[in-house]
């Protein structure tokens, strides 16, 4: 690291409260308006996928960017959330939101269990253990035919039931615009909760663990317990995304949760910038939308992700966020020599 970089400390984003409140307001407004600017099923579908990816990315970021644990199992938590929500609703007849809550809890529990394995493991071992977990989960989804119907999949999964609020017309979630409002609203809520956690002593504790666990323990931090916490939160958020995914797509097949999905989410987090929450959120949106804009590259979407991931790590490890900060710094001091 160059000495110029070293003198700039990595700090929790210190934007003042008013600016943050304004940003949340703008985000809420954007969510409200976007499906009416981008009409048509194609774009509205993409918007919903963006929202789901944002949730997956910030969930992983909480574990990787803040607690410093390389979790390659996010695809498994996504899948557990999706299948649990669907099975609880369709097999046990539970109402959607109860099944959804159950799915979130199960995914969170899976994260806790995985990280209990990880407690004593250094970075690489944890990465491989989480990858192993993702592979096993995929194989279970594929092979436990009586539960999941395997590769044939589960069909005709309904979206969340329509909401009837007093004084308002019925909100039907078959309408993609309304579904987007629901999912993106939930994504914004998840972002808010994680943001608040990160700006609290919890965020500082996780950062200490990421930096160096031995002195962190010497400051009274129970590293193992906090890592379990981070995993539980990150996987619960992924489980929530899964719960929405099932009702959104209507069909559930195990292939949607292959380990490649974990790598895609990792790319979103790293390309966006691991040092913050806004970075991975932006990375998720960018990597979801970009391949759609560059229409011709369809098949090469994953090649682009892989290349972006590698290049960012090699040349711009702080991701888009670092690029944005450098850009802003350049604008503020145009005459200072580098």
């Amino acid at each position: 690291m160059s000495s110029a970089q070293a003198s700039e400390p990595r700090r929790a984003a210190s934007a003042p409260l008013r600016l943050r409140r304004a940003a949340y307001l703008v985000a809420a407004l954007a969510i409200a308006l976007l499906p009416y600017i981008f009409t048509g099923a194609y774009w509205r579908t993409n918007l919903i996928v963006c929202a789901l990816n944002v949730m997956l990315a910030i969930g992983l970021d909480f574990v990787l960017g803040y607690a410093g644990q390389l979790n390659l199992g996010q695809s498994a938590f996504y899948g557990i959330g999706a299948y649990a929500a669907t099975l609880l609703a369709m097999r046990l007849g539970l109402p959607f939101w109860i099944a959804f809550a159950g799915a979130v809890a199960l995914a969170g529990l899976a994260g806790v269990v995985l990280s209990l394995f990880a407690m004593r493991l250094r970075g690489h071992y944890l990465a491989i253990a989480s990858l192993g977990f993702a592979v096993i989960t995929y194989q279970v989804l594929l092979n436990w035919i009586s539960l999941t119907q395997g590769p044939l999949g589960i069909y005709a999964i309904p979206p969340p039931p329509a909401l009837v609020l007093p004084g308002l017309p019925k909100i039907d979630f078959h309408d993609l615009a309304h579904l987007f409002h629901l999912v993106a609203g939930f994504a914004l809520l998840s972002y808010f909760v994680l943001d608040q956690l990160v700006r609290s002593p919890i965020g500082e504790t996780l950062t200490a663990i990421r930096e160096d666990e031995v002195p962190a323990a010497a400051l009274g931090i129970n590293c193992a317990a906090w890592k379990v916490f981070a995993f539980g939160v990150g996987s619960a958020v992924a489980g929530a995304a899964g719960g929405f995914y099932a009702g959104f797509v209507g069909t559930l097949v195990p292939d949607a949760f292959f380990i490649t999905e974990s790598f895609t989410i990792l790319a979103m987090v790293v390309v966006g910038g691991m040092g913050s929450l806004i970075g991975p959120a932006a990375g998720a949106i960018l990597l979801t939308v970009l391949p759609e804009l560059l229409r011709g590259i369809g098949d090469l979407r994953l090649v682009v992700y892989g290349a972006a991931l590698t290049l960012v790590v090699l040349f711009l490890p702080g991701g888009l966020l670092q690029a944005a900060r450098l850009g802003v710094a350049r604008l503020m001091r145009p005459d200072k020599p580098r």
Binding site: A6, S7, P201, T207, P215, L219, G220, I221
Partner: protein
């Protein structure tokens, strides 16, 4: 186990620890009361850092006990000992290099954080009060260790002497009753050592117990109330600083016969 003497804050009895076949620490016993400075010295490889690791909980002893404030901490993990009031620094400085000096110290405040769980998400009044308390405490400690103007600098960018002081400030943020320092004067120039001695004296006057593992004899002689000399992991001599210098066994250990 005999009851600890009423004034003894830290009590180590018969501590033993081996690595493979090598006995790093063997049968070390000592006590220290509050408001004193206790120094542990010995030639390189004598087992001083291992002993410190046993006291702070990074390592478990093969035999022996550690008691603190009357409580048996032998089986207590490192992070829990901090709650009892034990803090430490490291021989090879281990700061959070990418964080600012201020953020490093704040990280130490959280062990005594008393916020209701829901306020981590919805930042209420207790949250704000805690944040203010932590920030004020960090600023005070940084100023005390001479780093007042360097609060926003990344820890990795500080000078060597500043980093040593920062590590101490961070340890003090946990509001300890016992501060254990692993070679705090290593690499410091004479002026910096003097400043360090000054601060240790102030801390002692305020009732803190300080345990120092050190090579620097000036520091030890100036500030220690009592000295324990170890060699090859075993206790060689314990007593007041003046007596240590005259002890023939200690002289032999340092100057060394052919080994």
């Amino acid at each position: 186990m005999t009851a600890p003497a009423p004034s003894a804050l830290l009590q180590a009895r018969g501590l033993c620890r081996s690595f493979g076949g090598v006995r790093a620490v063997h049968d070390i016993t000592f006590e220290m009361p509050t408001g004193t400075v206790f120094a542990i010295i010995g030639p390189n490889g004598a087992g001083k850092s291992t002993l410190l690791n046993l006291l702070s909980g990074v390592l478990r002893p093969d035999a022996g006990t550690v008691a603190f404030g009357g409580a048996d901490l032998t089986d207590t993990p490192a992070h829990r000992r901090v709650r009892h009031g034990i803090a430490r620094t490291f021989q090879k400085i281990r700061l959070f290099k990418q964080l600012s000096a201020h953020d490093n110290v704040v990280a130490g405040c959280h062990v005594h954080c008393a916020i209701p769980a829901w306020q981590y998400v919805v930042h209420g009044r207790a949250f704000a009060q805690n944040q203010a308390r932590c920030r004020d405490e960090a600023a005070r400690l940084l100023a005390f260790m001479g780093l007042g103007g360097r609060a926003q600098v990344a820890a990795g960018a500080l000078s060597y002497g500043e980093r040593r002081m920062l590590e101490i400030a961070r340890a003090l943020a946990t509001a300890p009753r016992l501060l254990m320092l692993d070679e705090p004067a290593a690499g410091l120039n004479a002026g910096e050592v003097e400043a360090l001695v000054d601060r240790l004296q102030t801390l002692r006057q305020n009732g803190l117990a300080v345990l120092v593992v050190e090579h620097n004899m000036d520091l030890v002689m100036t500030i220690a109330n009592r000295v324990l000399v170890i060699d090859y992991g075993q206790p060689l001599f314990e007593g007041p600083p003046a007596a240590v210098q005259a002890h023939p066994g200690v002289i032999a250990a340092y100057l060394g016969e052919a080994r």
